[in-house]
C-alpha cells in the first residue's frame, strides 16, 4: 500500500478507480449477455409494455380528452413508458437481486476481492441499458403506431423524467430486494409493490378519475410522479415544467439510496 492510500484509507488511487470501472463495465457486459441468453425473460420484459401499448392504444385510438382535445393515445404512450421503466428498472432488478441473493450468487461474489461497489455498478449499468432500450422502443412504437411524440418543448421533461425515474426506481429496487424473503416470493412481492400504484396512477388508463385527496396523495409517490412528468412532456398545450414531479422522484431516489445502503445484504 502506498503512503497516500495509507493516509486516506477510504480514498481510491487513480489506478484503483480505473480498475473498478473496468470491472464494473465487464460485469455489466456479463449481465447483458445473461439477460439476452434468457430469451423468454428478455422477450417478456420488452413485450409487456409494447403489447399493452398496442392493445390499449387500439381501444382508444381516435378518442380525445373532453376539454383539452388531446388524443388519448398521446397520454397513453407516456403511461406505457412509465410502465416499461417500472418493469425493467424496478421489478426485474428487485427480483433478480433477490434471486441472486437467495441462490447464494451474491455470497459467492462477496467471497472474492471484487469491490462490492463494482459489482453493483455493473448490475445497475446493465439495468440502465435494458431500461433505455425499452424506453426507446416504447417511444418509437408510440410515434409509429399512434403518431404520439413529445411536444416540441417537452423533450427535456421526458428525458429528465426517464433519467430521474430510472435512478429512483433502481434505488428502490435495491432497497426492496432486501425485504424479499425468498426467490419464490420475488415476483409476488415486486408485483404487489408496484401494481396498485400503477393502476391508481393512471399508467394503463387515460380517463381514470380519482377523488382529489387520493390523487394528491399518490402524487407524493414515485409512480404517479413519473407518469405526471412524462405526460407533461407529451401533452400539447400550455408549457409547464414538471418540477414537482421531478422533485418527488429525486426525493424517492434519495430515500431509496439511503434504504438500500442501510438494508442491502449479500447473503441470507
Amino acid at each position: 500500500m502506498t503512503p497516500r492510500a495509507a493516509a486516506h484509507p477510504g480514498a481510491l488511487l487513480p489506478g484503483q478507480r480505473a480498475r473498478r470501472l473496468r470491472l464494473a463495465a465487464h460485469q455489466a457486459r456479463l449481465e447483458q449477455r445473461a439477460f439476452w441468453r434468457n430469451p423468454e425473460y428478455a422477450a417478456l420484459t420488452f413485450a409487456l409494455p409494447l403489447v399493452l401499448l398496442l392493445v390499449l392504444g387500439a381501444t382508444i385510438a381516435g378518442h380525445r380528452q373532453p376539454v383539452t382535445n388531446v388524443p388519448e393515445t398521446t397520454l397513453l404512450v407516456p403511461g406505457m413508458l412509465a410502465f416499461g421503466l417500472i418493469v425493467a428498472a424496478y421489478a426485474n432488478l428487485a427480483s433478480r437481486i433477490a434471486v441472486l441473493r437467495s441462490d447464494g450468487v451474491l455470497k459467492r461474489v462477496a467471497a472474492t476481492p471484487l469491490p462490492p461497489a463494482a459489482y453493483l455498478a455493473g448490475q445497475l449499468a446493465s439495468t440502465f441499458v435494458t431500461t433505455a432500450l425499452i424506453a426507446a422502443a416504447t417511444v418509437a412504437l408510440g410515434g409509429v403506431a399512434f403518431g404520439a411524440v413529445p411536444r416540441a418543448g417537452g423533450v427535456l421533461s421526458v428525458l429528465l423524467g426517464l433519467g430521474t425515474g430510472t435512478v429512483c426506481l433502481t434505488a428502490l429496487a435495491l432497497a426492496v430486494s432486501a425485504v424479499i424473503p425468498s426467490a419464490e416470493a420475488a415476483g409476488a412481492v415486486t408485483l404487489a409493490s408496484y401494481l396498485p400504484f400503477a393502476i391508481l396512477s393512471g399508467v394503463f388508463s387515460t380517463t381514470l378519475v380519482l377523488p382529489g385527496w387520493l390523487s394528491r396523495g399518490l402524487a407524493c409517490f414515485p409512480v404517479k410522479a413519473l407518469v405526471d412528468v412524462l405526460r407533461a412532456g407529451y401533452a400539447p398545450g400550455p408549457q409547464h415544467f414538471p418540477a414537482a414531479g421531478l422533485a418527488v422522484l429525486a426525493a424517492w431516489a434519495l430515500i431509496g439510496i439511503v434504504l438500500a445502503r442501510r438494508f442491502f445484504r449479500w447473503h441470507l
Binding site: L23, H26, Q27, L30, R33, A34, F35, R37, N38, L100, D103, G104, V105, K107, R108, A110, A111, T112, P113, L114, P115, H267
Partner: protein
C-alpha cells in the same frame, strides 16, 4: 511450520443457542486439514467465521495473519471459498464465468489450468445451467482456485453426490493438494476424511474433541486394536474357555476380540492356543483402530446418528 489458521477459544452464540463452545484449531501451511463432525456440530459456523461471513461471539482467530471479521480485501485475495450450497449466474458459460472470476484477483491462475485442475476441459463452452451437479461442484473448485489462493475452504464438498461424482471431486481435491494449497475441508463422511486429509479435527457439540492424523486420533481416543481369527472347533463347542483376561465374541465362525495393548494380547492368545495343542490360529487378523473407531468413540451417539 507456519500456521495458516489459528483459532483460540472461538465461541458463537445466537441468542441463547450456543453453537460453538470454545473451538481451538491450528491449520498448518500446505496441509489438508479436515473438520469432521456430525450434522449440526458447528462445522459450517466455524468455517464461516474463518471466511469472515460470521463474527465470533468470543475468542480470537487469525487467517493468514489477518482478522477475517472485516473481510479485508488483502485476505480475500489469498483465500478460495467453496460454500456448502451456492448458486451460479446460470446463463453464463463455464469459461466466461471463470474469466470473470480471474478478473477479480491480482494474480489469477491461467484459465486453461483451472479447466484442467477441475477436469472441465470439455465443458468450457457449456452454459452453467446445463452442468450436472458434480460438474457444478468442480466449477466451484475452479472458481475458488481462480485467484491462485494460498488457502482454500471446502465446506462439505461432496455431500449428496453419487459414487462417481464423489470420486471425481476427490480427484480434483487431490489435484488441489498437489498444487500445494493449504485446504480446510469440512465433512461428516469418515471415508472422505480418511482419504483426503493429513490431519483431522473432530468437532462435536461446538468443541474440537481431538486433533491429529487418523492413526494418532485412534490412539488418543483409546480405541482398541481388533484381533480376530477362525474360531477353533473346541472353542465353538464351548469345550475350552477363552484366554483369561480376554473377551472373545464368536460370530460366523470367527472369534473377535479387542485389546488396547495388541502385543501383550497376541502373546496371551498364542500361549493359550499352544496350551490347547493348536498348531496356530487360522486366519489371524490384527486391525489397528481407524478413524471410524476414534470418531465413534469420542463423538459418540451424535456421530453415529449423523452418519
Amino acid at each position: 511450520m507456519s500456521l495458516v489458521i489459528e483459532a483460540r477459544a472461538l465461541e458463537k452464540r445466537y441468542g441463547t443457542r450456543q453453537v460453538l463452545r470454545g473451538v481451538d484449531l491450528d491449520v498448518r501451511s500446505g496441509e489438508v486439514c479436515c473438520l469432521l463432525g456430525p450434522n449440526g456440530a458447528g462445522k459450517t459456523t466455524t468455517v464461516e467465521i474463518f471466511e469472515g461471513f460470521l463474527t465470533a461471539t468470543a475468542g480470537t482467530v487469525r487467517v493468514l495473519g489477518f482478522d477475517p471479521a472485516g473481510r479485508p480485501p488483502a485476505l480475500l485475495e489469498r483465500i478460495g471459498i467453496v460454500l456448502q450450497e451456492c448458486g451460479f449466474p446460470r446463463h453464463l458459460r463455464v469459461a466466461e464465468l471463470l474469466s470473470a472470476w480471474r478478473g477479480y484477483y491480482p494474480s489469477p491462475r491461467p484459465l486453461a489450468e483451472l479447466l484442467d485442475v477441475a477436469e472441465l476441459r470439455d465443458e468450457r463452452e457449456t452454459l452453467v445451467r446445463r452442468l450436472s451437479g458434480g460438474q457444478r461442484r468442480r466449477l466451484d473448485f475452479a472458481l475458488a482456485l481462480a485467484g491462485d489462493p494460498d488457502l482454500m475452504f471446502l465446506d462439505e464438498p461432496t455431500t449428496g453426490f453419487d459414487v462417481e461424482a464423489r470420486r471425481r471431486c476427490w480427484d480434483v481435491i487431490g489435484n488441489l493438494r498437489s498444487l500445494g494449497k493449504t485446504i480446510l475441508l469440512t465433512t461428516h463422511q469418515l471415508d472422505e476424511a480418511e482419504r483426503l486429509c493429513d490431519r483431522v479435527a473432530i468437532l462435536s457439540g461446538g468443541r474440537i474433541l481431538l486433533t491429529g492424523t487418523p492413526p494418532a486420533l485412534a490412539r488418543q481416543a483409546g480405541a482398541p486394536t481388533r484381533i480376530s481369527f477362525s474360531a477353533p472347533e473346541q472353542l465353538r463347542r464351548g469345550e475350552i474357555s477363552p484366554p483369561t483376561g480376554m473377551e472373545l465374541s464368536i460370530s460366523d465362525g470367527r472369534a473377535c476380540g479387542a485389546a488396547s495393548d495388541a502385543t501383550s494380547a497376541l502373546r496371551t492368545l498364542l500361549a493359550w492356543a499352544a496350551g490347547h495343542g493348536m498348531a496356530g490360529l487360522e486366519e489371524l487378523t490384527v486391525t489397528p483402530p481407524g478413524l471410524e473407531d476414534a470418531y465413534l468413540r469420542v463423538a459418540g451417539p451424535a456421530a453415529a446418528q449423523g452418519r
